[in-house]
Symmetry: C2
Subunit: 178 residues, 2 copies
C-alpha cells in the first residue's frame, strides 16, 4: 500500500503546472513535482534562517499539492474555490489512506493545518508558494516568454505576499535579469 | 544572494536525469527536481515510520543532487567516481556560499555526512535513492519502454539495497504492473 502512495506521489512528475499552459501556451512547462522541489528548498532555507519549525514546513510543502496527482492542477478560472477545495480534500484523504494509520493521522492534520491558513508556518508556506511562482515566471520571462502575459503571475504574487522579508525577496525577483 | 541560491535550485527543473537519456533514448525524461521530490516524499514516509530523524533526512535529500545544477547529471560511464565526487564537492561549496554563514555551515556538514555514507540516516538515503530510481524504471517499463534496457537499473538498485524493509519494497516494485 505504501507503494501505491509512492506511485501517486511520483505521478506529480507528469502533472504540468496548468497556469503556464493556459497563459503562455507552453507545451511542456515545469511539473508539479518540479515546483514542489523548488518550494521545498526555499522553505528549508527561509525556515532555518527565521527559526520556524523546518520539519513541519517541509512536510506540509511535500504534501501541499499531492491531491493534484488525482485531480490535476486546477486553475482559478476553471471552477470555484470552494469546489476546488472540496475536490482536493476528497483526493488527499483517498491518497493518505494508502499509508499506515500512525502517519496517516499526522499527515491529515498537517493538510488540515495547511487548508486553515492560520498558523505562522502555514502563512509563510502560502506566501512562499506565490514567491516560487514569481521566481519561475521571471525565469520564463528571461527565457523570452511574453513579459505582458507573465505580469499577471507577478501581480498575483505581490497581492498575497505580506511578510516583509518575503516581500523584499519578491521585489528582487521582479527586478532580476538572469 | 539567497535569490542566486534559489535560482540555482530551480535550475534542477531543467537538468534531465541522464541515465534515461543514455539508456532509453528519452528526449524529455524526468528532471533532477522531479526525482528529488519523489525521493523526499519517500524519505519522509519511511523515516516517520521507522523513527529516523526526518528533518535531517529531508534536508540531505533536498541538497543531495544540488551540485548537478552546475555540473549536470554525470553517469558512471562518463568519468571516474573520484573525479565526479571532486567536481560535485567544488560545485556544492560554490552553491552554498550564496547562503548566510549560519545555515551555510549546517548544510555543508549535511553534505559531508551524505558523502561519507556512515550515519544510519545517510545509508537509508543512498538506498532510497536507488529505490526511487527502480520505481521510475518500472513506471517507464509499464509505459512501454524496453524492459531489457531498464533491467540494468533494477539490477543496480538491487545490488545496493540491504535494509530488509527497503528490500521488500524493491521486490514489490520489481513485480508491479500499474
Amino acid at each position: 500500500m505504501i507503494l501505491d502512495f509512492f506511485n501517486i506521489a511520483a505521478n506529480l512528475k507528469k502533472i504540468p503546472r496548468q497556469g503556464w499552459i493556459n497563459k503562455l501556451s507552453l507545451e511542456k512547462p515545469e511539473s508539479v513535482a518540479d515546483h514542489t522541489y523548488s518550494l521545498a528548498i526555499m522553505g528549508m532555507v527561509f525556515s532555518d534562517l527565521e527559526n520556524f519549525n523546518t520539519e513541519k514546513i517541509l512536510k506540509i510543502i511535500l504534501l501541499h499539492d499531492l491531491a493534484e496527482s488525482i485531480v490535476g492542477d486546477i486553475t482559478p478560472d476553471q471552477i470555484s474555490k470552494n469546489k476546488k477545495t472540496d475536490l482536493e480534500n476528497k483526493a488527499i484523504k483517498k491518497i493518505l489512506r494508502k499509508l499506515p494509520q500512525s502517519i496517516q493521522k499526522q499527515y491529515i492534520e498537517l493538510w488540515e493545518e495547511y487548508q486553515s491558513n492560520i498558523s505562522a508556518e502555514v502563512k509563510i508556506i502560502h506566501q512562499l508558494d506565490k514567491l516560487e511562482m514569481a521566481l519561475q515566471a521571471k525565469i520564463y520571462s528571461n527565457e523570452g516568454h511574453s513579459k505582458k502575459k507573465l505580469s499577471s503571475f507577478l501581480k498575483s504574487a505581490k497581492d498575497e505576499i505580506t511578510d516583509p522579508k518575503l516581500l523584499k525577496l519578491f521585489i528582487k525577483i521582479s527586478k532580476q535579469h538572469v
